[in-house]
């Protein structure tokens, strides 16, 4: 029977990947990239290329990840698990703080962001649950709505573009391109949890295509969004905005203008994607720890609590001040090195067996 095998389809993998990343990347990455104009766009292209390569490596190494204990021992596995969990908790805190601030500003004016953060966390955790198939089905259901909304937004926003916004002189800088590339790669650092899921996807040996397709679609959407943002506001204008996508939404109107403003609807769709991303972090935490049932619920509660504390801790900037730096210069290198080491260890073992 369908619901009994604890596996998901390639299509579901693709959809949950896009849904989890699209909202967050549009909100955070698009603005960053736009601020650097052509260098940003080329850097993002480089970043996506590197991300695709890393994903293929992760796909190849997926069995080694699941048998990590054989290569690094039990203690090593626990240390690595702790790194992963700390990364997921910090990412969750960062995301939660950002979403709650946006909601308090644009959706529930005057509400306490900390209360909204709590509600968001509860909804994200309860909605996605602890079941891999449930999460996949949720993605499958949300995907058409969110994608249709974003495509419609981009289409309508495209009419606001001005040609003179693109008349910026070309000043390419390799350092800037590399920097943006690395930043894009860091934004995709959360992909490091992918190998733990891949073994539960139907036809795990032929996942290259859906993974690359997902990356390709995300790149296309982001590039289109960035071009529209640059075309609408210009690179200079974007640098002064905190979340340019929200400004784009606010300025986009429906044809006929039978509604005064429609940005609430775009924001609602963005919120769906962000909730899914937040819930996914909780899901992966549980999945990595491998606890189920009552213990699983306690674990998720504890993880949620830490995410919440992380999101409200600190003054004005809080986790915003250092999360991106930690992701770029600590976690991403760690994940890349781990992939390399596991791949090397597995190859050495294979060669030893052959001999």
């Amino acid at each position: 029977m369908f619901a009994d095998n604890d596996r998901i389809s390639k299509r579901q993998l693709l959809r949950q990947m896009i849904l989890a990343l699209l909202g967050a990347w549009l909100l955070f990455l698009a603005g960053e990239i736009c601020g650097h104009g052509q260098n940003g766009l080329l850097g993002m292209l480089l970043g996506f290329f590197l991300l695709a390569l890393w994903m293929l490596a992760l796909l190849r190494c997926a069995p080694y990840y699941s048998h990590m204990e054989e290569y690094v021992g039990k203690g090593g596995r626990y240390v690595i698990l702790a790194f992963y969990l700390s990364f997921l908790i910090l990412t969750g805190s960062f995301l939660l703080r950002k979403i709650s601030r946006i909601c308090a500003e644009y959706l529930v004016g005057g509400a306490d962001p900390e209360l909204l953060a709590l509600l968001l966390l509860l909804a994200a955790g309860l909605g996605i649950g602890n079941d891999i198939q449930r999460r996949a089905r949720l993605a499958e259901i949300f995907y058409p709505f969110v994608m249709t909304g974003f495509l419609l937004l981009l289409l309508l926003a495209a009419f606001h573009m001005r040609a003179d916004s693109f008349q910026e002189p070309v000043r390419l800088s390799l350092a800037k391109i590399a920097g943006e590339g690395w930043r894009t790669l860091a934004a995709g650092a959360v992909m490091a949890v992918l190998p733990f899921l891949l073994l539960q996807v139907d036809g795990e040996k032929s996942l290259r295509r859906p993974l690359l397709e997902g990356m390709g679609k995300l790149w296309l959407l982001l590039t289109a969004a960035i071009l529209i943002l640059i075309g609408t506001f210009g690179s200079g204008g974007i640098r002064r905005m905190e979340a340019p996508v929200l400004q784009l939404m606010a300025g986009t109107r429906l044809p006929g203008e039978f509604l005064e403003r429609f940005d609430i609807v775009w924001l609602a769709l963005l919120l769906c994607s962000l909730l899914f991303a937040l819930g996914s972090l909780l899901f992966y935490g549980n999945h990595l720890a491998g606890v189920k049932g009552k213990k699983g619920r306690i674990f998720r509660f504890a993880m949620g609590f830490l995410i919440y504390v992380g999101s409200i801790a600190g003054q004005e900037q809080g986790i915003f001040a250092w999360y991106l730096l930690a992701a770029e210069y600590f976690y991403l290198p760690f994940f890349l090195v781990l992939t390399l080491l596991l791949w090397a260890a597995a190859n050495v073992e294979r060669l030893t067996r052959r001999k």
């Binding site: 004016g109 259901i141 139907d202 005064e260 909730l275």
Partner: protein, 645 residues
Amino acid sequence: MPWNRRFQTLFVCAYGRVPAGAALSYGLRSKCADLAERLLPFLHSFRKKGNSMRKEMFDFIYDVRDFIIQQARCISMGQNDWKETAGPQGAQLKAGQKTKEKPQEKSQHKTGQGTPRAKRQDGKGHEERGDYKKHTDHESHADRTPQRVSASLEENEAWLEETCGGCADILRHPMRLGREADVDALLVYVEVTVANTLLEDSLIGRALNHLRELPSGELADALDGNTLGVSDTMTFEDMEQAMSALLAGNAVLFLDGYPKAVKIAAKGYPAMTLQKAETEKSLRGSREGFSESVKINEALIRKRIRSTGLKVEELTFGKRSHTVTALVYMEDLIYPELLEKIRGELGQWEIDGILDTGMLEQLCQKRWMTPFPRFETTERPDRAAMEALNGRVVFLCDNSPTALLFPTTFNDFMQVGEDRYNWFGMVTFLRVLRYLAMAAALLISGSYLAVTCFHTQILPTNLLLSFAEARKGVPFPGIIEILLMELAFELIREAGIRMPGPLGGTIGIVGGLIIGDAAVSANLVSPMAVVVVAFSALSSFAIPREEFSVPFRLLKYGFIFLGGVLGIFGIVLGVYLLLGHLAGLTSFGIPYLMPFVGKGLQDYRSPGDDVLRKPFHLLTRRPVFAKRTQRVRMRRKGGDHVRGQ
């Protein structure tokens, strides 16, 4: 149940202090089996570590486990009764035989201070059981010691007197049969179930008249050989079986000198005849609805599927009601696991009476907190037959005109029986309309509050001003206003349903028009709130199945609260939680959101019958319920090359 209590139960059961068959429900028994399975590894590890666990304790737990598992198998095979041969005594004997080899217990036997098991071997176990039965609430005819039909009519009469004493509706009609009228006989039946016994046109009347004409010596042979020519007759040697036949609405004949009881079919209990399906009206297709007799309902399905592939499996539930239920399915189309699951679910319960399919439905739902039904109901035999052809199982229950269909999905509730009979374009349009109505029923009141309380910038200025104008003078905040109106509507609806006959409609008119108008005039509510609530109510009526509109009617209040307190933010959280909940639901292993989440799953191709319906000649595949090897429903004769001719 806490672990220590489970352990205690296991040992109480094992040592025979409580006769397992009478004391432990199926669920408890299976829990004990489960417990024994779990205990064994622990005990093994315990023994390996050199602990002085008594060996006989192991043997005993093994015995109990085997016994319980054996019983669980008996029950899952449809034998609801705790079998005497494998009953507690059997298990105790088995355990006792093993333990006899042990020196400690040998001595106990010798001294006569044996365990309760030993007592049972002495025959005292039966006494214990008897004592228990005096106190148990679940005593029924099925628990009695089987009583054979005696050759002496007096003895049979005495048994009947004891059993049926106080049942004024069970009539005992003494008579004399045979040509010389010298053989005493007794006809027993439930009043009303048997037609006039003397009339020639009744089956019993003809049979009795025939028996009056035979010589006395030939009566027994006539009954044994059914020379009466009665199509539905049967002889019983057991009084309990005879009583069951009697209570099922047949007449039972006892003859002096003949050690059997003869069942003669009668007209049975009064029941409503075939009628139109009230809750599933259609413009096209059969008008027939299910009746309240399970046999007639089976026949109505069989009438539409005249194939021996259609299997009808009858099961009896209810320790006192002995209600006949039937699982109807196409044997080659369904997953056998489905039947096992439903049998397992039902087998877990012992209940005094089942009076409707709704009771069975609730017993079989593991996730009982969800408001979304996992069984679909239908009153239409044509729909039941169609679903059997789709690979679903139809569950009928005596005295209920409603059949259950399972497994079921969200999409099934949004379809109506006549969808198959109409042009695909219109069907698609209506389905889209129904889905929109469903969303409106759930969200419109909450969204109205969200927009008017939090996001007024969405509305064009003119509309906003007219909203404000309409609300002028209303003393309540928007959320209270909407809640009041919604509750008032539910009140009118409930009153309208419960009111007899034409009064129901009157209540609707009085409530809807007069009270609504008066409330607006008195400035209790704004006209816009009335419009929103009316639209929401109308939308809930467009959901085809009543049982499926219930969750939306309930959840609507949650969305009203979320929209009124948190605006669109709350609505998004609510939708996310709701879809997350639906994504986690399954019905007998089939995801509830199929076919929307099915694309890309292994060996699955959408049948093209979800929100958008394909033209009928393209509906070649069965839905996900059917076996993977049996998914093709229709193909053109002669292959694809003739397509389009």
